[in-house]
């Protein structure tokens, strides 16, 4: 029997984080975007222990300010891509607005830290969502193009191909055949 399980990373991560923090008896409040305010200051050892506990699950305690900002930018972008209202936000305006910095500044910090651009990241996220919509929601390309604010199906296909190197139809075909292979 086939099941599609969609999971919300945020829920899982928050729960795990909460668990681990509570294990260390740390009182905290969550500020969203992975930002945590600890009631008390943590010692270096405590910090190391926390890092050790969190690392098996890929958690990283980010101390660098810029990294924090980049993380926020990423989260904001993800939120933008994954919400369904078609208000045609221009992403630059949206980010500048949300994070209270000029887009130019955000762009620079992002490139500095990640060595890749915000635009690139946005495209990657959109294509990722397109993949999800294709596989799990089984939406058509036309529907996906509309939902993700592409000017046309051709535009979506071209971007898909440019990002992944294969056409959306080829992608779908391959994933299907992969699943059949695994049976």
């Amino acid at each position: 029997m086939k099941l599609f399980i969609k999971f919300d990373i945020n829920t899982i991560c928050s729960l795990y984080l909460k668990e681990k923090l509570e294990e260390q008896n740390l009182n905290f409040s969550s500020l969203g975007f992975g930002e945590i305010e600890l009631e008390e200051n943590l010692s270096t050892d405590g910090l190391e222990e926390l890092k050790k506990n969190l690392s098996p699950f890929g958690f990283e305690v980010v101390e660098n300010q810029k990294s924090v900002l980049v993380q926020k930018i990423k989260d904001a972008i993800i939120e933008l891509v994954y919400t369904d209202d078609n208000n045609n936000y221009k992403s630059s305006a949206y980010l500048a607005d949300k994070l209270n910095h000029s887009y130019g500044y955000l762009s620079n910090v992002f490139s500095e830290v990640t060595y890749s651009s915000i635009e690139n990241f946005i495209i990657i996220q959109k294509i990722e969502r397109a993949k999800q919509l294709m596989l799990i929601n089984e939406m058509s390309l036309t529907e996906i193009a509309f939902l993700l604010n592409y000017s046309s199906v051709a535009h979506l296909s071209t971007q898909f191909k440019n990002t992944t190197g294969i056409t959306p139809s080829a992608f779908l075909r391959i994933i299907k055949k992969r699943r059949e292979n695994l049976k």
Binding site: I9, G58, E60, K74, I78, V113, T114, Y115, S116, N120, F121, I124, Q125, E128, K131, Q132, L135, T163, T164, G165, I166, A170, F171, R173, I174, I175, K177, R178, N181
Partner: protein, 149 residues
Amino acid sequence: MQKNALHILLADDDEDDRLFFKDAFEEVKVQTKVEFVFDGLQLMEHLHNPDTKLPDILFLDLNMPKKTGKECLIEIKKTDHLKNLIIAIYSTSSSDEDIEDTFIHGANIYIKKPSDFNALKKIINEVITLNWHYHTSGLNRDNFLLSLK
């Protein structure tokens, strides 16, 4: 960026290709650690070894003696502790059927060996960047497909 160096493993029997690869990785912005194996058997032995630290990305040549890249790919995907490896096929063929075939059998990335060194550098950059995004941004590894030919 990544605190730890990115761990890369290349399985290729050709000396020159390994040289190109090494040189290209040296010129990449990210910190990397590159290891080599020389054929399919050696690769599987290496991977099955419990002491081995698994690489972040495995670059796999298809035309290898003793055990072909495809055979290794299939075996890796069948092995529990290996099946989540990010695998990039690194090959001379550019036929769509071959590419699709490797994707179907579980490869995440397909790279056609370029005949220009700068092109190789560019490709490796793209792979690393994308891979990093997959690591850090919660993207679905099952849907990670990239074809560079």
